[in-house]
Amino acid sequence: MNRAIVELTARQLLGQRRSLLLVVFALIPVGIALLYRFEGQQPNHVQWTANVLGARLIVGTLLPIAAVIFGTAALGSEFEDGTAVYLLSKPLSRSRVVLSKLLVAWLATGALVLASVLVAGAIAIRDIPDQGVLLGFAVAVAAGSLAYCSVFVLLSILTSRALITGLIYVFIWEGLMTALFSGTKVLSIRQYTIGVAKWLTTTSERTFAARLDGPEALALMVVMSILATWLAVRALARWEIGESG
């Protein structure tokens, strides 16, 4: 890690309009949880919180969108703006650059999504014992943010169209393909995250089901994060300045 890069990236990511947009996105689950609390018709709060709020809204939508925005912007905006040379013309190992950028993207994504899931979850689940749903999703989301961000940081080094490529991964691959072909679940961070969340709850399969077993999901998540980060370091070492840059 490098403190100067961490501080720089924090200012880069948080000082922009897109973070404001993300705060609005993060409030959506809270709003829907309030609606559920006052207008909801499902009697099983744990089931609704786990499946609809947790799996669909948070893990299926907010988490990947926040991660793709922060993950591709952390390093990608430096390439786009032509400022990357200032970081790379320094006696710093590329792994430090990647790890510092990844750390900030992860913290930004994690903090935003965690706040959203905890507040919205607490509203929706009320005061009954929650069978570990809140804790399960909090941990899963924290871990899932890291896996997503490492993949999106890698993408931002490989392509100038990282944002849309990441969105295609999220919505076509994880959204459509995994719904149609079950085998693709081993390459779906969404399924890893849900697997980990399920692992930490005491809910029954009928209340909340995951496609991957907990240990399997966690192992895949760790492998994916490490692999993506390692590839990102390699790609950054080979990064060449573009014709315009």
């Binding site: 309009r17 947009l21 996105f25 829907i32 609704w48 969108i65 849309i164 919505f171």
Partner: protein, 297 residues
């Protein structure tokens, strides 16, 4: 870098000449802008990396049709209609939204990013012509997703049928409906995504905002209609362009929403959605024109 002591100056005749020939004028300028933008939407004439994403998404949108035709060729069943034309949009809605997210910022913001906008505005083109040309380009590009695959599917199904003539006779009415629904869907997506893209020159903001408008809104709508009953659940379908489009397509095909779906729950007459779609398309287009008439270049 004169080395002489006294000032010296001369003007050389480099052979520049005034253009005295005919000028093709505004309509031709619009047509050129339209064709250039349409090619640009698919990255034609740009480097390879600009082509991959729009073309890949267009292929994804055609995949259901290709699979259906492929399966039909093998199984060769008269009654094999996995995909009804009015349901085709359900399979490709995400692809259409992603296409808009990828392409609208190229069609609309690119001239601002590369600072070529003043060049357009100093030509015969009016500012409103510029917007309409861009709108027509994105609309045409979207037809490759919302119309072309279905048209191919329709023709393919007919040709694969053992009784082609009978197939055409029974289903000929589908074709104008495919044309109409494809054109309407493309128009709504084109004008809404250009409206979003016109608000910012930065590609990333435009892409995220288009995704928010189409995809996030559909998730919200789906969750609300599945969560809350009563007026909340009914109104939820109005929150997202996807449902409005779905309902309009059903209306064009004179078909009913699947029971239990959000649209069935909303229980509104089809022409309401059709009117909403037309109004939204027109208002968004008008707002883009208004924005570009006021934009400082």
């Amino acid at each position: 870098m004169s080395q002489r002591d006294e000032p010296a100056g001369s003007i050389y005749d480099l052979g520049y000449r005034r253009y005295d020939g005919p000028r093709l004028g505004r309509r031709h300028a619009m047509l050129s802008l339209y064709l250039f933008s349409l090619r640009g939407a698919f990255g034609l004439g740009r480097r390879t990396s600009s082509k991959i994403i729009p073309i890949a998404i267009a292929i994804i949108a055609a995949t259901p049709a290709v699979i259906q035709l492929g399966v039909g060729a093998i199984v060769s069943s008269e009654h094999l209609h996995v995909i009804r034309p009015e349901n085709y949009f359900n399979f490709i809605q995400i692809a259409v939204a992603l296409f808009c997210a990828a392409v609208a910022p190229e069609v609309m913001g690119r001239d601002q990013r590369t600072r070529t906008l003043p060049l357009y505005f100093s030509r015969a083109l009016l500012r409103s012509d510029y917007v309409l040309g861009k709108l027509a380009a994105l609309w045409t590009a979207l037809l490759f997703l919302t119309f072309v695959p279905q048209a191919l599917l329709f023709l393919g199904n007919g040709m694969a049928s053992s009784n082609s003539t009978g197939y055409w006779r029974d289903n000929w009415m589908d074709f104008p409906r495919i044309v109409a629904s494809g054109a309407l869907v493309a128009a709504l997506f084109a004008s809404l995504s250009l409206l979003v893209a016109a608000q910012t020159a930065r590609r990333a903001y435009a892409t995220v905002s288009v995704i928010a408008l189409f995809v996030i809104s559909s998730v919200i709508s789906e969750v609300i209609s599945g969560t809350a009953g009563g007026v909340w659940g009914q109104a939820a379908v109005l929150l997202t362009p996807f449902e409005v489009v779905r309902a309009t397509i059903l209306w064009v095909f004179q078909s009913n929403a699947e029971s239990g779906s959000a649209l069935a729950q909303a229980d509104l007459p089809g022409y309401v959605f059709f009117a909403m779609l037309c109004a939204a398309t027109a208002i968004a287009a008008w707002l883009v024109v208004r924005r570009y008439e006021r934009i400082a270049v």
